[in-house]
């Protein structure tokens, strides 16, 4: 398994075209938005990587930069107002930020696909789902209308939409929320991409449907051996499907870990807070924990550690020095593979 780069300044070995390297590698990515009120720094030096067959969960509140990072990877950032002043995004060893628009377009949909949160608004309301699915084959593979439709039906079957043949000419609004999200998944899957980015794929769905959709996604990922970046703010969703987790706050990754370890021993106060704010059956009657304060304003990110105004452990150093993402070790110094924390007091957090 590939490990998330431990620090921003140590360059990771450059990925190559062979299958052993990571599929996607984001290095020191910065994204900012130029607005009327100033420059909003949405992403401030993010590093992560995903290999084939691996699932990376990116966790964070809205405004943490998790979606913006994904959009930058996908190449669908609105530029302007968005801008990428710094960073690299390697896909199979090639920096996509240096590619021409046409090269990037060839990757989108074919190699990297994306699933959006709100399938109703993300599907074109005036085109039939069959058309929208078939479009992938017609544009990228030059299939005829008829063949594309047949492929669309097969896809709908694949994501287990009942009566696919009859429903292929229906419009998005005629489907239920769960079915619509299946269509989104089918569309992302159409050309069997190497990597799928799912941006809160289940947030808009009913809880019962959420599990079904998540299971489907996980199953398909296994079958096609795809890399998956799962963006979410829901720790519950992550536990079953993800291999590793990156927690984001104010445009930075504050903690990385293999999935199960983070639940047991978080190494960042923010992660800890997130975990404690999950309602639990065995704590019935107790007051639910909530992280104090509000997510930072990206126009005025607090100096030092961006989390310091909300942190229970904050000291003076937290207000002045930005903590780097450092490897996390056991008390005796043995390395915890894949773990990192951007907290001055990670030791106290994990072991204290």
């Amino acid at each position: 398994m590939t490990i998330i780069d431990k620090t921003a300044d140590v360059p990771a070995p450059r990925g190559s075209n062979d299958e052993s390297g990571p599929l996607l590698e984001v290095r020191d990515l910065h994204v900012e938005f130029h607005t009327r009120d100033g420059v909003a720094k949405a992403v401030n030096g993010v590093n992560y990587s995903v290999s084939a067959g691996e699932t990376l969960a990116v966790l964070g509140e809205s405004g943490s930069g998790k979606s913006v990072t994904a959009q930058a990877v996908m190449g669908i950032l609105d530029m302007p107002p968005g801008r990428i002043p710094k960073g690299e995004i390697f896909f199979r060893g090639q920096d996509m930020l240096k590619m021409s628009n046409e090269e990037r377009r060839q990757i989108r949909g074919q190699k990297i696909a994306m699933i959006f949160q709100d399938a109703l608004s993300s599907l074109n309301p005036v085109l039939s789902v069959g058309y929208q699915l078939g479009e992938m084959f017609r544009v990228h593979q030059g299939l005829s209308k008829k063949d594309a439709k047949a492929k669309a039906i097969a896809l709908m079957d694949r994501v287990r939409i009942p009566a696919a043949k009859e429903r292929v000419n229906d419009y998005p609004h005629m489907f239920s929320g769960g079915m619509r999200q299946r269509i989104m998944i089918a569309m992302a899957l159409a050309l069997e991409p190497d990597l799928i980015i799912a941006d809160e794929p289940t947030t808009a769905l009913d809880v019962t449907v959420q599990a079904q959709v998540m299971d489907l996604l996980a199953e398909l990922q296994r079958d096609f051996n795809m890399g998956l970046i799962l963006i979410t703010h829901d720790l519950g969703v992550v536990a079953d499907v993800a291999d590793k987790i990156a927690v984001m706050y104010a445009g930075r990754i504050v903690e990385t870990a293999p999935v199960h370890e983070i639940y047991k021993r978080p190494a960042h106060p923010y992660t800890k807070g997130l975990l404690e704010s999950i309602p639990r059956l065995d704590q019935k009657g107790q007051e639910l924990y909530a992280i104090k304060g509000l997510p930072p304003n990206l126009l005025h990110v607090p100096s030092g550690c961006a989390f310091n105004p909300r942190c229970t452990m904050a000291q003076d150093i937290c207000r002045t020095e930005v903590p780097a993402l450092r490897p996390v070790t056991e008390q005796d110094g043995t390395e915890l593979v894949g773990r990192g924390s951007a907290c001055h007091f990670w030791k106290e957090t994990i072991h204290g």
Partner: protein, 309 residues
């Protein structure tokens, strides 16, 4: 769908009757007397006038006159002009094609130029070219069409000599270009603004982001995904606009001396030729009603979310 069309057609009947009755009663219930107008300044024997009114059925109560008119209408009889004795149907069949041609030219001009301008601006909202379009459309909306007509006449006919100031009796197509541009300019401004807003709004929508994420080429993203959605409100507007263009032609025809419907309405109004005025307005109302029905049906084709109840 079939039931919906049937219901709409049924609904058109009261609106049609109402509109014609409205025009009819405005024409006949208000002061002003066609027979007296015929005599002009001369003094005429009141008895002679009464006899003539009786002959024309103008002495009947209003509702009766309207009934007679309707009965005639369904037999294809639009009535007869009092002064010339010509059937109104003749006059309409002579004048209507000219006006329809003028309105169609204006319509095409509106659609082609208006939509292109709107898309051009909407794709780059809040840039210089968008602002430029806003200013241009504001000017087009603000300058009354007769002023625009005179300006066009002044520059293109008197100053540049490219066209004749007045359109000839045959009203050949090339002669109608300038009047059509003048007639269409107001609608053009509306269409351009509506398209611009619609395009700019849809450009920000989630499904456009999806289209990009699907790796579609730009011309397909704009041409299929954006346009299919953006054209819905524009088509709606254009449908009602066709009727408005026919109505607006009255003014344009006046300036360029086109012998179309407007000219005839104007002439008929001056001589209180009720049948002619009502006939022509009725036709325009019918065109308007049919156009809005077509638009509603087209709306359903363009937007599958619309369901007819």
């Amino acid at each position: 769908m079939g039931r919906y069309v049937a219901r709409r057609l049924l609904q058109m009947i009261p609106v049609f009757l109402g509109s014609t009755l409205l025009v009819f009663s405005m024409m006949y219930a208000l002061p002003g007397d066609p027979v007296r107008a015929l005599a002009g300044e001369q003094t005429v024997d009141p008895q002679q006038i009464a006899a003539m009114k009786k002959e024309l059925g103008l002495d009947l109560p209003l509702w009766h006159q309207y009934w007679n008119y309707l009965v005639g209408l369904f037999q294809g009889d639009f009535g007869t002009q009092i002064a010339s004795g010509r059937p109104v149907a003749d006059i309409i069949s002579e004048a209507f094609p000219i006006t329809v041609r003028l309105a169609l030219f204006a319509f095409i001009f509106t659609v082609v130029v208006g939509i292109s301008m709107g898309v051009f601006a909407g794709l780059k909202a809040d840039t210089l070219r968008d602002r430029g379009l806003l200013v241009l459309t504001l000017l087009l909306i603000s300058v009354p069409s007769f002023v625009l007509g005179f300006l066009g006449q002044y520059f293109f006919a008197f100053q540049l000599g490219w066209v004749q100031p007045n359109v000839s009796l045959e009203a050949s197509s090339d002669e109608l270009i300038l009047p059509a541009v003048v007639l269409g300019s107001l609608s053009l401004a509306y269409v351009a603004r509506l398209t611009r807003t619609s395009v700019a709004e849809n450009l920000r929508s989630d499904y456009m982001r999806t289209a990009v994420a699907k790796g579609l080429p730009r011309r397909r993203i704009v041409g299929v995904h954006l346009m299919r959605n953006s054209m819905i409100p524009v088509v709606t507007f254009l449908g009602t606009d066709l009727g408005a263009l026919l109505g607006g032609a009255v003014v344009t025809e006046g300036i360029f001396n086109v012998k179309g419907v407007g000219y005839n309405v104007f002439d008929a109004l001056r001589h209180r030729e009720g049948a002619t005025v009502v006939g022509i307005v009725t036709l325009i109302v019918v065109v308007y009603l049919v156009a809005s029905l077509v638009v509603d049906l087209l709306y359903a084709v363009l937007d599958p979310r619309i369901r007819y109840a």
